[in-house]
């Protein structure tokens, strides 16, 4: 009967109920949908970060982090690679790279780049480059003078497929090494900065240029899932061939990213709080209005012998329905919005220049986390009931005679 009373009472003033419902719906929608967009943004940041040559785990020679120079290469990667094959979970892939800073130059232009020497097959399974070629072709095993560059770099250098690009860097003997490559492929990346930074050649070509025998700069490992990072990390750190190496997870390799993630987390929490406070005012206000319009009725309730607690239940039943309806519709709208954006995302190309700094992609896809949705719903529902205790207590405290005398 409380529920019946509550349900009918909220429809006594359909306009007011509609207004407060809309407020709850917008609140819930903004919590869930905008929350999902922000999650999508950070998820993609992580994915980009990992795909842009970081991987889940990286292995370096111990001194490399302080001084990422050729001298600090892993001189003989063979035992390490054997240990990897033995210890990595199935579905994991790894790629050994040479990575040095270099100067790229053609007839028109010169600029700093990162030269990355890779095994084309293995690298394709670990980082973005395997699927990123937009013009020409990817590197081949036997490709001593082939180079793959980013679209932005090609534009900056006013060059294109088949054109020559000279790279210069310091070799292991501290001499200037230079080698002329021919552009065989042009790739696109999520971020322009990536396209300008990395140029790819084969491992043998890089070794020849740097006068390295077997050495490599790093090994990057991609695991089937984020959740395997900790266990794999522990297992690799135990492996004897890796005793002279740094083995680190992406969280350590991308400290800025980690900081942003933490900021985003507190931002989402703050966002929930702000939305909820606005909503709470609406709920309290509406319920108070509804109660003061019906003071006489509460006097009647009291004359019938209703105890204060029963009156509280009656008022709470109204809030219960408002919240339930608002949450229900809010969730449906949120999932509809997410569904609509699932395929195409939100295109931020226009703002790309500004957002790039944060590692945000050009297109954002919402990503729904069960935990976030549950949290948003619980916040609205439970705190919503809690704040409507205030008007309910007010109603329960009306003095019967005064309430009955009220017109």
């Amino acid at each position: 009967m409380y529920l019946r009373l509550g349900w009918r009472n909220i429809w006594r003033n359909p306009r007011r109920t509609t207004v407060i419902l809309i407020a709850i719906i917008i609140g819930v929608w903004s919590m869930i949908f905008l929350g999902a967009l922000m999650r999508g943004m950070t998820d993609q940041m992580i994915r980009n970060g990992i795909a842009t040559l970081t991987g889940h785990i990286q292995i370096h020679q111990r001194d490399y982090r302080n001084d990422p120079a050729v001298e600090n290469s892993i001189e003989d990667p063979a035992p390490i690679e054997a240990a990897l094959d033995e210890r990595l979970p199935t579905g994991a892939h790894w790629s050994a790279r040479i990575r040095v800073t270099a100067t790229a130059a053609n007839a028109r232009y010169a600029g700093g780049v990162t030269l990355v020497g890779v095994d084309p097959q293995m690298e394709a399974r670990v980082s973005f480059i395997g699927k990123a070629i937009k013009e020409g072709r990817y590197l081949r095993e036997d490709d001593p003078f082939g180079i793959v560059v980013g679209r932005a770099l090609a534009e900056k250098f006013e060059t294109g497929l088949g054109k020559k690009l000279v790279l210069m860097t310091q070799d292991t003997e501290k001499n200037i090494a230079s080698r002329a490559f021919r552009i065989v492929g042009i790739y696109r990346a999520e971020m322009e900065a990536t396209e300008k930074q990395f140029v790819f050649v084969t491992l043998p070509a890089a070794r020849e240029m740097l006068k390295l025998e077997k050495g490599i700069s790093e090994i990057s490992i991609l695991l089937p899932g984020h959740e395997m990072v900790a266990a794999t990390l522990a297992s690799l750190r135990d492996a004897p061939p890796l005793s002279g190496c740094d083995v680190e997870s992406w969280r350590n390799l991308l400290p800025l990213m980690r900081a942003y993630l933490e900021i985003y987390d507190s931002f989402i929490f703050l966002w929930y709080l702000v939305v909820f406070i606005a909503m709470a005012f609406g709920i309290v206000n509406t319920t108070l209005m509804a109660i003061f319009e019906r003071i006489r009725e509460f006097g009647l309730f009291k004359s019938l012998g209703m105890k204060p607690w029963w009156i509280i239940k009656e008022v709470m039943a109204e809030s219960f329905f408002l919240l339930l309806l608002g949450i229900l519709i809010g969730n449906i709208l949120s999932f509809l919005s997410v569904f609509l954006l699932m395929n195409h995302g939100i295109d931020l190309t226009r703002f790309a220049a500004g957002s790039e700094f944060f590692g945000i992609s050009r297109v954002i896809y919402p990503s729904v986390y069960g935990r976030d949705v549950l949290l948003a719903n619980l916040v609205v529902f439970i705190l919503g009931l809690v704040v409507s205790l205030y008007p309910a207590l007010k109603a329960a405290r009306f003095k019967p005679v005064e309430a009955l005398a009220h017109v």
Binding site: M1, L5, R12, E297, L300, L304, G305, M306, V401
Partner: protein
């Protein structure tokens, strides 16, 4: 046996510096099964006395006993419990919960009392038939005439066999014909079900229906006579 006993009840309202003496020491005994009119001009203290007997308001001094229960020092919760079980109210107007149908309004008190659903429904229908509202079970208060609404209120007040029904000017908002019919119906219920009715009025016609007429003036009893309607 006295079902209501008031001993020297006083009540003074204070509004800022203004003091209004509403009751100046009222003593009154009412027997079980009575059909008593509390008559007097407007402002004489009728509503105040009824509210105090019903435990909606507290007396400043004196004592009120309803069916053996001394109200004087009861807590709000105990008073609510007493109203729920022993006392039915009928007010001048706005007696019904607007979002509930006639039947649901009558059921509502029984629900609060914890009467099982089936019995609740049967008793509510029966009592609505008794007060002459058969077929109007599902009407909302807004779809009933003033007289019909008061009948629902009487039905609700008597459905759970209370010790007393307190009716504060129940006919004041009705035309005289409807008012007379309501009073006749209340009289029938009083005889058939031996419910005790105490109603206030300043209407001569209503006083004529009473079997006991208590006159109240300026917060004091002025006259008390048994009569044969």
């Amino acid at each position: 046996m006295n079902i209501v006993e008031c001993v020297n009840v006083t009540k003074t309202y204070r509004q800022g510096k203004m003091e209004v003496r509403a009751l100046g020491g009222v003593s009154l005994r009412i027997k079980k099964g009575g059909f008593v009119a509390l008559a007097g001009p407007s402002g004489s203290g009728k509503t105040t006395l009824l509210n105090i007997i019903g435990g909606l308001d507290a007396a400043d001094s004196g004592s009120v006993i309803v069916e053996g229960n001394v109200l004087d020092n009861m807590s709000q919760t105990e008073l609510a419990q007493l109203r729920l079980r022993k006392i039915g109210f009928v007010f001048q107007s706005y007696n019904l919960i607007p979002v509930l149908s006639a039947l649901e309004n009558v059921e509502f008190v029984m629900l609060l009392q914890g009467v099982p659903t089936k019995e609740r429904l049967d008793r509510a229908r029966t009592i609505l038939d008794d007060v002459g509202l058969e077929g109007l079970y599902d009407r909302r208060p807004a779809e009933l005439s003033g007289g019909q609404q008061q009948r629902v209120a009487v039905a609700r007040a008597i459905v759970s066999d209370p010790a007393i029904v307190l009716a504060d000017e129940p006919t004041a908002n009705l035309d005289s014909k409807t008012g007379r019919e309501l009073l006749e119906m209340m009289g029938e219920m009083n005889e058939q079900k031996s419910v005790t009715f105490i109603f206030s009025t300043h209407d001569k016609m209503v006083m004529d229906h009473a079997r006991r007429l208590v006159l109240i003036r300026d917060g004091l009893l002025a006259d008390d006579q048994d009569r044969d309607p």
